[in-house]
Amino acid sequence: MTEMSYLDGNMLDGPMRELFTVDLSSAMGRCENCGMTGSMASLHVYSNAPGLVARCPSCEQVMLRLVRGPDRAWLDMRGTTFLQVPMPMEQPFPGPL
């Protein structure tokens, strides 16, 4: 029997692009459990499962779950306190600044 392995968080980029336009691999996230802030690309992603389960590389708690049904998707990020997404001012930005 082989040990259950995981992928790095870069693999989330494609599935997350179905939901958002942000480049998740360049985003930072804070773990709700241990408080560590790091690149989302550094998460440990377990994909041999009914959905994608991304865990904090420090404490192994779940930071993100993404389930893709045939006509719907569910994103649970209760384990992520925030996402910090690069958003340079020179890019077109519709928000109130």
Partner: protein
């Protein structure tokens, strides 16, 4: 067994009568996991049923082994669409474990070493339909498949058969578990193809 192509003609393999809708047959035993594999030493392993009134029933590994053992041969169906027929297990019926538990609860939340949870109606754990199993095909259940012991509830999708099971919390109100809070069906009957919420 060799690899057999279903070919280009004829009905797809999902039409085999022993299989629920949308499933395909596998001879393999795929390993699915939502996290790192817990390694639970037998001398510290325990199984705990906590009733809604706060009372607890505990079994050590030796106590579990001393209970009457059953050898269910059952078909299992994973929500990721594979099914495996005629699997052989050994373990203790939940009827045995629940026999002395005084409860009026209608629901159970199974919880595991490693933090996984899944919810089931308590009635589905009774009537000779659910076990805590420790042996697969005559050998100790490997950790990758949920050993030392996992829940076996073969009439529901296999995510309900919690690996590395540690106990049950009996509840008067249904409390969805790990996958049930992330889009998967609350009950998960493979014959009604209850994969996702609303199915």
């Amino acid at each position: 067994m060799g690899i057999v192509s279903p070919g280009f003609q004829g009905r797809p393999r999902t039409q085999e009568p022993a299989l629920p809708p949308g499933q395909y047959l596998t001879e393999d035993f795929p390993v699915l996991s939502a996290g790192p594999t817990p390694r639970v030493p037998l001398d510290t392993w325990e199984f705990v049923i906590a009733a809604e009134n706060g009372s607890e029933h505990r079994w050590s590994w030796q106590e579990l082994m001393a209970l009457p053992q059953e050898t269910p041969m059952v078909d299992i169906h994973c929500v990721t669409r594979w099914s495996k027929l005629g699997t052989n297990w050994q373990g203790v019926s939940l009827d045995t474990l629940l026999a002395d538990v005084d409860t009026g609860a209608h629901f159970a939340l199974a919880h595991s070493y490693g933090g996984y949870t899944t919810n089931l109606p308590l009635d589905d754990l009774r009537g000779g339909r659910a076990w805590v199993v420790h042996t697969f095909d005559g050998a100790p259940l490997p950790a990758e498949h949920g050993g030392p012991a996992r829940l076996l509830v073969p009439h529901l999708y296999f995510w309900k058969s919690a690996k590395w099971v540690r106990g049950l919390r009996l509840k008067t109100m249904d409390e969805p578990g790990f996958w049930e809070t992330a889009g998967y069906h609350d009950y998960g009957d493979p014959w009604r193809e209850q994969r996702y919420q609303g199915d």
